[in-house]
Amino acid sequence: MGFELTQEYILGHLNYWLFSVLMMTGLYIVVAKGNLVKKIVGLNIFQTSVFMLYISMGKVTDGTAPIFPLDMDVDPDVIYSNPLPHVLILTAIVVGVATTALGLALIVRIQDEFNTIEEDDILKIERAIVQTENAIHGDAMGGRA
């Protein structure tokens, strides 16, 4: 396959695999669970593990946080970690909380309209609505409303 399974290789890639496992846990919560609030929490877990993956890509061994000393006396021997992924992830975190707030507001409105936040119940109610609409208007629209 073009690589050797040495210990250095495994240790060097373990972080990517761990964060992929976390991502898949979050994805499983979104796909498999029926409760809408749990889906939003699973989406948060998925987003946070993606952030961890990106930040771990920006880390340099023996580096330090990308903040210079106060008097701007930059020592050319000090290694700094790459600040660019930090900026991208800062934006992503704020966008994530905006999405979460909107999703939770939608859940509150769904609770008002359907009186439930379980996905199976909502699908049943919607199917019942579509059936009654078909029964009332179906003939006028060629069999399906």
């Binding site: 903040i67 800062l90 704020v94 707030a101 939770l104 507001a105 509150v108 609770q111």
Partner: protein, 146 residues
């Protein structure tokens, strides 16, 4: 509310300290980790904490909803306005060198300060507005069912 006495006393002590910390993070974003977003969230947390322990009505007397809605737009206006001011001064959009034409790197300080201020104001107002929207609805679960 007698059994919530500890919460009320501690909240009264903490809210001022939280606001001070929010200002510190906002204005020291250049020198230490921090900046507009973090400061905005911390400032909003001060108001949300006050609204959680004392009632929503009390916090809305301190920070009325009409002011929150105006501030939501004001922050974005400050940010975009900084860019447009540099357009009017003859430079490109969001070029901070426009503020001190003879020393471009000093203008960066002014530009970054104004921009972070706009971000902080918007984030504070949006978080507080979202909290007001959620807390303003009558709850479905009474206090005993928790």
């Amino acid at each position: 509310m007698r059994h919530h006495l500890i919460l009320r006393v501690i909240t009264k002590l903490l809210v001022g300290a939280i606001m001070l910390f929010a200002f510190y993070v906002q204005f020291h974003g250049d020198f230490s980790p921090g900046g507009g977003f973090q400061a905005g969230v911390i400032m909003a947390v001060a108001f949300i904490l006050y609204g959680l322990v004392f009632s929503l009505h009390n916090v809305q007397q301190v920070f009325p909803p009409w002011l929150v809605h105006k501030l939501v737009a004001l922050g974005v206006l400050i940010y975009a306005g900084t860019g447009i001011v540099s357009l009017f001064l003859g430079y490109s959009f969001l070029d901070y060198g426009a503020f001190t034409p003879d020393h471009p790197s000093h203008g960066q300080h002014y530009g970054i300060f104004a921009v972070e201020l706009g971000v902080g104001i918007t984030v504070t107002a949006v978080m507080v507005a979202i909290y007001y929207a959620f807390a303003g609805r009558p709850p479905r679960l009474s206090d005993e069912e928790w």
